[in-house]
Symmetry: C2
Subunit: 277 residues, 2 copies
């Protein structure tokens, strides 16, 4: 399923977006990225990738990501930011991280992460990939929203696409199945896997067929795949599935899974989202 990447002399916008410079005090300096802009501020997935990258680049890191929780404390303003990533506890094979992003001296994101050196064990899938048409048999939708970050992905809805009519009728469920890949065929790694875990539009839009102000408050990603599996994925399609569980008094949650096209579980992820009405 390898996609032939176009010849690029310039770096991929994702790599530019997550680039961090380590300062003498150990803090990382980065900058928001216009190509990953959302309605207001950056795409949450790129913020997650930046926070994770501070761990990935940290000289004391042990192992690969197992979990990441990111809390969106305030709107990230366009411009520079600093990230502090602290290994709060290092064990023999696991490591616990506390991460914080600052702008103008104030906290805008907090996160925790677990990394681990993983050993090969007996493995079992339980949330198995649904049987769906291939990406080649799935149409790319017309542009459904103006955000820049959407242009960074090739998005093909199998079901549960962005509602055509926002007519405020209860759809009865909020299930989306969608093929996703990097629009330029960038090969997948842990940082881009973190970003794409946030590629599902808010379930409330689908369930309610209603557009209201929303914002993810907290997102958790469990990384099941190992680095060699991501290498196998390369620039190919992955299958995403997302569904809401409960919408109540200003917050709803959604749960999602990402599989490689060959059916390997890459990520399970959850988020709670603020909504205003």
């Amino acid at each position: 399923m390898a996609l032939i990447a176009p010849k690029m002399t310039a770096p991929h916008p994702f790599d530019e977006a997550i680039a961090l410079t380590c300062q003498e005090d150990g803090q990382f300096i980065g900058h928001t990225s216009a190509p990953y802009g959302n309605f207001v501020g950056p795409f949450g997935g790129i913020s997650a990738a930046q926070m994770l990258n501070a761990v990935l680049l940290h000289p004391q890191r042990l192992g690969d990501p197992v979990s990441l929780t990111i809390n969106f404390c305030a709107a990230v303003a366009d411009g520079a930011f600093s990230i502090q990533a602290r290994p709060a506890r290092t064990n023999r094979s696991t490591q616990h991280w506390v991460i914080e992003m600052f702008q103008a001296g104030e906290t805008v994101l907090t996160a925790t992460a677990v990394t681990a050196v993983r050993r090969t064990t007996h493995s079992l899938g339980e949330a198995t990939m649904p049987v769906v048409p291939s990406p080649e048999d799935t149409a790319s939708p017309p542009r459904f929203a103006p955000m820049q970050w959407l242009k960074r992905y090739d998005i093909r809805f199998i079901q549960g696409g962005f509602p055509e009519a926002l007519d405020d009728t209860d759809a009865g469920h909020s299930l989306t199945q969608v093929w996703l890949r990097d629009a330029l065929g960038r090969a997948m790694d842990f940082a881009s896997l973190a970003a794409i875990s946030d590629a599902f539009f808010p379930r409330l839009f689908l369930r309610r067929a209603r557009f209201v102000p929303v914002g993810t408050v907290s997102m958790t990603i469990y990384f099941h795949a190992q680095a060699e599996q991501l290498t196998q994925v390369g620039g190919g399609f992955i299958l995403g599935q997302a569904q809401g569980q409960h919408f109540q008094n200003g917050f709803f949650d959604q749960t999602a899974q990402l599989w490689s096209q060959s059916g390997e579980m890459l990520v399970t992820t959850h988020q709670t989202v603020y909504y205003k009405e």
Copy 2:
């Protein structure tokens, strides 16, 4: 469904377990609790409740819990601990917390939490309560494990109880449905709701019918219920449902829901668990 609480002159062991004393430097001091002991160290749910309680007792707290992520960095030793709860960001109606538990100068737990002042909005359930027999028609199992914390709950499995034979056969799924309540009828609140969110035994035991060393690494709880709904639950039964999603190379995840007996969604929760084999 209110249960008549027995007359107690002593405080409930849960209240003793989560009791914290605020020091002059703002740190909270607490102590592990033998009645909530696990195989090794404390029941993870009581640790979650202690971490949340540092937020609940904090003089700067705004609103009620929306989400909590707790990371189990190292075994909590029997004895005293300190907790630092820091409001990293306070907005108009939401607040972001970074929480850390220390023993002997080392980090043993990290956590983040979101609290919010919630407004009444249009609400929709999507993960609705399954149709199951009533708690009165569901048997309490014989004691299936020796841990102290299990005695603190009335646990009645509808399906997916602790496997009777650990014969290493693949059960094909790891679904549990179970009625749960405090054994002494203590009225539910946010702290006890956090604790009971961790009451599901590791899905690997059920899926594999195999007992291996396990330990939760990270757990996230999304609180859907408001305080008045918890008051309604009181000391009554709640329905829990849990299932694993993927088991691979030393870590598996499980997802769970908790409903009041009348069918109101209280919590959705997820965890990733280390296993050794």
